[in-house]
């Protein structure tokens, strides 16, 4: 396929993507869309305000099939091939994973999740063979600690932004972020080394991380990552109380906090 054709395909897909996103948003603002929300929230009660939850679910299912159908058509145009692989449980699972990482409770959540997932897939896979592990861990952590997803984390900052207090969180975030970054770097280094030791061919003990070459069969690299994890983890922990306090202060009702703080 030549370049001009690529651009055409891209324009076609982008056009339909925007149209369908707009349609989905509008759908969520119709009586039907609102009742779909109501059924999700409390399916039993919808029956006592006149709506059959089964019919609401049925129509929602048809609508999602409609949009999935468009997506499938565009996929086929883009890749010019559709196989069992595009329909199997793994692919369906990946879509769910994107939605959860992004945040299922928000309209843009799945979009954010899909963009992030694709970025991770294309960028991370250049640097590491175990990118799927990182995405998997991200998914598990999201489900365990932020069920609202990444969009949810962003959304939590909106009220703080609205009362102009976002600035008060910058320093606490940096203070927690630096040791956390060291800790994560240690964890990543550890995982990469383990993977290298297990996956590399016999006798190949040389590996490089961020441009530094070393021998995985010597002790020093292992000590370095262990220290990174331990020290980074320790300092992250010491910084958590001030972060929590800053967070609570940012949420305190207007006018009541300044004196107390």
């Amino acid at each position: 396929m030549d370049f001009a054709q690529d651009i055409e395909v891209y324009s076609l897909i982008a056009f339909w993507a925007f149209i369908t996103i707009a349609l989905m948003y509008l759908f969520s603002r119709t009586p039907m869309g609102r009742m779909a929300n109501a059924v999700r929230d409390n399916d039993e009660r919808t029956e006592f305000v006149g709506y059959s939850q089964r019919k609401v679910r049925f129509i929602s299912f048809c609508a999602s099939g409609f949009f999935a159908g468009i997506a499938g058509g565009l996929f086929a145009i883009n890749f010019e091939i559709v196989t069992e692989e595009n329909l199997n449980a793994l692919t369906s699972g990946v879509v769910l994973l994107m939605a959860y990482i992004g945040g299922v409770g928000f309209f843009i959540g799945p979009i954010v999740g899909a963009v992030l997932f694709t970025l991770l897939q294309t960028l991370l896979s250049i640097y590491t063979e175990i990118w799927q592990l990182y995405v998997g861990v991200l998914f598990v952590l999201t489900v365990m600690y932020v069920p609202q997803g990444l969009t949810g984390i962003l959304a939590m900052h909106i009220p703080i932004y609205q009362i102009n207090r976002l600035g008060s969180l910058v320093v606490p975030y940096i203070r927690t972020g630096i040791p956390l970054a060291f800790c994560l770097a240690g964890v990543v280094g550890f995982l990469e080394m383990i993977h290298h030791v297990r996956a590399a061919s016999v006798g190949d003990t040389e590996m490089s991380l961020i441009g530094i070459g070393f021998d995985t069969h010597t002790v020093m690299p292992w000590i370095i990552v262990a220290v990174l994890v331990a020290v980074g983890g320790y300092f992250t922990k010491t910084q958590l109380p001030q972060l929590k306090e800053a967070w609570e202060r940012a949420h305190a009702p207007l006018g009541s906090d300044e004196g107390a703080a």
Binding site: L26, F27, R29, T30, P31, M32, G33, R34, M35, N37, A38, D41, N42, E44, R45, T46, E47, F48, V49, G50, Y51, S52, K55, V56, I59, A63, G105
Partner: protein, 251 residues
């Protein structure tokens, strides 16, 4: 005049236990009817049977002269019967405004439409705002219903039930767990919102019952032992023994 609700020989069993044991009840159009009885007598079960949440084991239920036995709840609602729940049953993650609007949508003929955008439907939103005003939740309309106080949730529960303008409204213990002043407010709200309609309510507060009800039915152990005016119920020996007496001893 046809009755608003007419129960004939209604029975309900869960497995081997019969909870409702042959209930005949005639609720007149436009009356305020209270159902009282000890805990576990089957009052909520009776509500569930009339409103379609449970199927009948035997007997029949009529609404305005039409047989509604074993219809699903949404069909019964569309025929003009709306109810609230003893255990608050709202849409916790949707805003208070949206909760009320959900209670209105069917009656405003939107059905399953995906041709209208709810935010642009002036009449729908105007009516929603009116109901919010009536139940006193205008200032709370944007918060998720799940974060309302208990009393506010109870008001919303009534609001959702009454929003659609059904002509028969059933309220299951609307004031349970409320303080005195909250109860007074709730009763004023119930009077206002059910004006000119048929009201059936389960209520434990005897002050409220004798104040609000035109007639009272006493349900004891799955059977109605008396249906009468408040005065006659108060003086009814059987009722005193079975219920009011026990209540007085209790107090």
């Amino acid at each position: 005049m046809t009755s608003a609700i007419k129960l004939t020989g209604v029975r309900k069993s869960f497995g081997p236990t019969e909870i409702i044991r042959g209930v005949d009840l005639d609720i007149r159009q436009g009356e305020r009817h209270a159902i009282i009885g000890p805990n576990g007598a089957g009052k909520s079960t009776l509500f569930h049977l009339v409103s379609g949440r449970y199927n009948l084991s035997a007997g029949s239920v009529e609404l305005n002269g039409e047989d509604i036995s074993n219809l699903p709840p949404y069909e019964i609602y569309r025929k003009g019967l709306s109810r609230s729940f003893q255990v608050t049953n709202i849409f916790p993650r949707m805003s208070v405004f949206e909760n009320v609007r959900c209670g209105l949508m069917w009656s405003q003929e939107y059905k399953y439409s995906f041709w209208h955008l709810v935010d642009r439907e002036k009449k729908l939103n105007h009516r929603t705002a009116e109901v919010l005003e009536e139940i006193g939740l205008t200032s709370r309309q944007h918060v998720p219903a799940g974060v309302l106080t208990y009393a506010e949730q109870r008001a919303l529960e009534i609001g959702i039930a009454a929003a659609g303008g059904a002509d028969v409204i059933m309220l299951d213990e609307p004031t349970a767990g409320m303080s005195h002043s909250e109860t007074d407010q709730a009763i004023a709200l119930i009077r206002k919102i059910t004006d000119g309609k048929t009201l059936v309510m389960v209520e434990h507060d005897m002050g409220v019952v004798f104040d609000v009800a035109d007639r009272i039915s006493v349900l004891v152990y799955g059977e109605i032992i008396a249906t009468d005016t408040p005065e006659n119920i108060r003086n009814n020996k059987a009722v005193q023994e079975a219920y009011l007496g026990a209540e007085a001893e209790h107090a």
